[in-house]
Symmetry: C2
Subunit: 234 residues, 2 copies
DNA sequence: TAGTGGTCTAGACCACATT
DNA sequence: ATGTGGTCTAGACCACTAA
């Protein structure tokens, strides 16, 4: 081993042994005490290395039973979901935002069912376009419950955009995000400047605070968009 | 605070104060020493709570400058990427797999460019269908580099499926995953039993080991598929 | 240059699951 | 019953960076 025996070294060394097959899938790893002796480190140090390997999905830990290399390394990916503005700017493009429609109306049935809202909840419905270098990049179709966020009734969404307004004004506790493919309807096609029926990448998100639904949003990206992440660079 | 003063309590309490606005966005949090006094905990305990809050994207930590509540809480979602078999079985459906095509051929140009492979690399190309309760669920189009995984040339993929074979036989170090929408071509439409041009959710993944490309796969899901995750339940 | 977070140590107690 | 991981403590040194 090296001189410094930090948890990073311990983790990297164990990782290398797992990848090389020295610790085969399903194999029992040495206990923490044993690893302390091998690496000359304190238990807290070894523990942190092992805990992170477990979080990364490479090993499985159980009291009394010890730590085992996972048979099928748990595949998990972390996606960053930045504000559109940040996403566009980080690509070196100029960001512009336009509020296309805004109105107050009762929650439609399909959304009431989805958000489990009581009947006759008033919502603010917004349609927005986000441009990258003056080309439509994302079409945002958003619903905000005025019961959960009364301030949204009169807030000016022309300058900042509902997403940033919500981030600043309405904290949330839980969100559900889902990704899917969506065939462009006439409205979306016109907004994004593509053919109707074109295959678009869609992100849907709904958020709650203490059980109460705050907002639902559908984000349609221009054709060809990819959401990418890299995994396991450790 | 409570009696036990574990890092979970400290974390939960700080989280509640952030969400309630007691610590506003941008605000400077007390230093670790100060928090130790307030909670009556050791610094390692407070440190773990703060470190996890930082990992969760809620606060930002800098040496000397202290810890601040993030202006825009960093949104990140973790997706589990299980084996299709596990995904289908966990929905309570019966899993079946069928190998539709398998051949050995030189890497096509578009893929060579994408994987940065040398010319004339031999690949095994496979087309597979994964069924849930006898309905097509996912169409897998896979390429495996025989340079990186020679064993794949003669491996029997009829019983197990290339994904599971790879998991068991070829460790990988890095993967790139991307999500997008894809308009069904004739082949995919026939495989999945949908109309050509239908909007399908696609997952693409490529993996490397020590700089060498191992495999590229495109996974097309049946129409209507959603990939969902929940965030911030803490 | 001083204050903050990052990390390590040595020791301890406990919860839990397997035996 | 016993061994393993989960967590906490008290103290220490260090790296970084804002002032």
């Amino acid at each position: 081993m090296t001189q410094s025996v930090g948890y990073r070294e311990v983790k990297a060394d164990l990782l290398a042994q797992i990848r090389s097959g020295a610790f085969a899938p399903g194999a029992l790893l040495p206990g923490e005490e044993e690893l302390c002796r091998r690496y000359g480190a304190a238990r807290a140090t070894v523990n942190r290395a092992m805990r992170e390997l477990a979080e990364d999905g490479l090993i499985e830990r159980k009291r009394r039973a010890g730590s085992r290399v996972r048979e099928a390394p748990l595949r998990q990916a972390r996606f960053a979901i930045p504000l559109v503005r940040v996403e566009i700017e980080s690509q070196g493009a100029a960001y512009r935002y336009a509020l296309m429609r805004s109105r107050i109306l009762p929650c439609p049935d399909w959304l009431r069912a989805r958000l489990a809202l009581p009947e006759a909840t008033q919502m603010r419905h917004l349609a927005c376009l986000h441009f990258a270098d003056e080309r439509p990049y994302q079409f945002e179709d958003r619903w905000i419950s005025l019961a959960a966020a009364p301030g949204a009734r009169d807030a000016d969404m022309a300058a900042l955009g509902p997403n940033e307004w919500l981030v600043r004004n309405v904290p949330f506790s839980t969100a559900q995000i889902s990704f899917s493919a969506y065939a462009a309807d006439a409205d979306a096609a016109q907004m994004l400047g593509c053919a109707p029926g074109e295959s678009l990448f869609r992100v849907e998100r709904q958020t709650w605070r203490e059980g109460a639904s705050i907002t639902y949003v559908s984000l349609l990206y221009r054709a060809g968009h990819r959401m990418t992440t890299t995994v396991g660079a450790g």
